[in-house]
């Protein structure tokens, strides 16, 4: 069990109150009609799956029901940073990742 700080409620709550909604900052292709099948497939299905720090979108389902972003270590489950959608993360770029999360940030 780990605790997550909800930036909207401004409180630490138990993990059970939240729901992980997968990778954060996935940019929808600007012009889907001109996407190749490969580009569209990668947008829909291909996700970063790092062993280490990962940016994720979470929702406080049993609380304020708002979405927010977290930076979490997928090996130790330590939460490094929590920030609202639209805000900038204080750990940026994500350290220890070979490739920066890059253009989609």
């Amino acid at each position: 069990m780990f605790h997550i700080y909800c930036p909207h409620c401004a409180e630490y709550r138990e993990e059970e109150e939240f729901h992980a909604s997968g990778q954060a900052h996935i940019a929808r292709p600007k012009d889907p009609d001109t996407c190749t099948d490969k580009e569209w497939g990668e947008y829909l299905f291909f996700r970063k799956n790092p062993r280490g720090l990962h940016r994720e979108l979470w929702i406080h389902t049993a609380g304020c029901r708002k979405f927010f972003n977290i930076v979490r270590n997928t090996q130790t489950y330590e939460v490094k940073d929590v920030y609202k959608v639209g805000q900038k993360s204080s750990c940026d770029p994500v350290p220890n990742l070979k490739q920066p999360v890059g253009a989609v940030l």
Partner: protein, 417 residues
């Protein structure tokens, strides 16, 4: 290879069991192999075994970071069945189930495959319709599967709570009588022993640090303890760590690694002689030969490589089992553990060529790879031997996520996740 038999046991008892042959060697790797398999779990070892036995390729190494069968092979709940919805997956799992049926004799190693049947409970009209559809689909593919009504379920599992007062009353079930459980460790060890006897090098305690790729073709792997090892073809069977290795090869996989956990109770007297699964209340349970109740359920919703699960998931799992079997309310849980499962968006595996020439991946088995061990190893060995994907493996290409030919097994397959 020393054959195991009752007579052999008797013979060795005369010398106090001190002269048993070592089950497999612990060789120093050569500089060059025809095929390197990364990952010494059940699937990797089965691949090596069939490469040597069926395809005559014995210059093979299996490179394992820890010890043989120490990952998800050692952590699953050992359920074997083939009742999947779509033709592609049910044919693959049925191929595997047929191989299970003769596996102990084939390997001369008791994998304790027990065809005690698997029951999938239905608690809603929607469940019942889905199951009927799946049962019909299975029968069209020649797979034994049938629908049971409530009375039949009661007779089969007398201790199941079939009362109307349950929060989610049981309405019926689908039943595959040939399905069952097996001893997980024995499968890995049996394949390891068979592969080793045919000349395959099993290299343990050696981590693959990087893949050596030249001009878009893989030529070997870089290891921590034995330096560079060259190979003509490389098969990657590393389950939860597939994304990490794919990244080293320079491509992404549509896989997310999640913790999946299981738990066992203290041993109790025989009470449950089949496997009971329920999608709706979300849990599954069987009883091992030792007497432990083996219980599993869902994955944690977030990505995790920690090989441990979260407490809320344990709680939900135990709640589900209590709903089904109130009689187990005083049974104490003995151990709990987690594994890292590689889940695909369509809940089907990837057995595929990759953008790198001569590099093949076998991954994405998610929460149900154990049952596929023999079949997966067999079709992957065929693909590694010929360079062309086996016909049962073809639909499971990683490129299906580009062309849209997904095999959407989520939920529909009676998979408890």
């Amino acid at each position: 290879m020393q054959q195991y038999s009752g007579f052999g046991l008797l013979k060795h008892s005369l010398s106090h069991h001190e002269n048993w042959q070592q089950t497999w060697r612990n060789p120093t790797p050569k500089k060059q192999y025809d095929v390197i398999i990364i990952g010494g779990g059940g699937h990797g070892l089965a691949t090596a075994y069939y490469l040597a036995k069926e395809f005559g390729i014995t210059n093979v190494a299996v490179i394992e970071k820890g010890y043989l069968g120490g990952g998800n092979t050692a952590r699953n709940t050992t359920i074997v069945r083939s009742g999947y919805l779509w033709d592609e997956s049910s044919l693959l799992y049925e191929h595997s189930l047929k191989m299970w049926e003769g596996l102990s004799q084939e390997l001369n190693y008791n994998v304790m495959f027990s065809q005690r049947g698997v029951l999938n409970l239905g608690h809603t009209l929607g469940d019942m319709r889905d199951m009927q559809r799946r049962v019909n689909a299975n029968r069209l593919n020649g797979i034994d599967c049938e629908m049971l009504d409530l009375q039949q379920v009661k007779e089969l599992v007398p201790h199941l709570n079939c009362s109307d007062n349950a929060r989610y009353p049981v309405m019926g079930a689908s039943w595959q009588g040939r399905a069952g459980v097996a001893r997980h460790d024995a499968v890995a060890w049996g394949y390891a022993r068979g592969a080793d006897a045919r000349g395959v090098d099993l290299i343990q305690q050696t981590e693959v640090l990087d893949l050596i790729i030249e001009d878009g073709t893989i030529i070997g792997v870089k290891t921590d303890r034995h330096g560079d090892i060259k190979a003509n073809r490389v098969g990657c069977v590393v389950a939860g760590n597939s994304s990490v290795l794919a990244k080293k090869a320079g491509f992404d996989l549509p896989i997310e690694s999640h913790p999946l956990q299981a738990l066992v109770s203290e041993p109790i007297k025989p009470i449950l002689d089949t496997v009971v699964m329920s999608n709706h209340v979300h849990g599954y349970i069987s009883q091992s030969d030792k007497g432990d109740l083996v219980i599993g359920a869902g994955i944690d919703g977030y990505i995790g490589y920690g090989q441990r699960g979260s407490y809320p998931t344990i709680e939900h799992t135990v709640q589900a089992i209590m709903e089904l079997f109130p009689i187990f309310s005083r049974v104490r849980m003995n151990r709990q553990w987690g594994g890292v499962v590689d889940t695909c968006p369509d809940a089907c595996p990837i057995i595929s060529k990759t953008p790198i020439k001569n590099l093949f991946f076998n991954c994405g088995w998610g929460t149900g790879g154990f049952k596929a061990t023999p079949g997966s190893g067999h079709v992957f060995a065929s693909s590694l031997a010929t360079g062309e994907m086996h016909k049962l493996a073809k639909p499971f290409s990683m490129f299906r996520f580009h062309n849209g030919a997904l095999i959407d097994e989520h939920g529909a397959a009676g998979v408890a996740h």
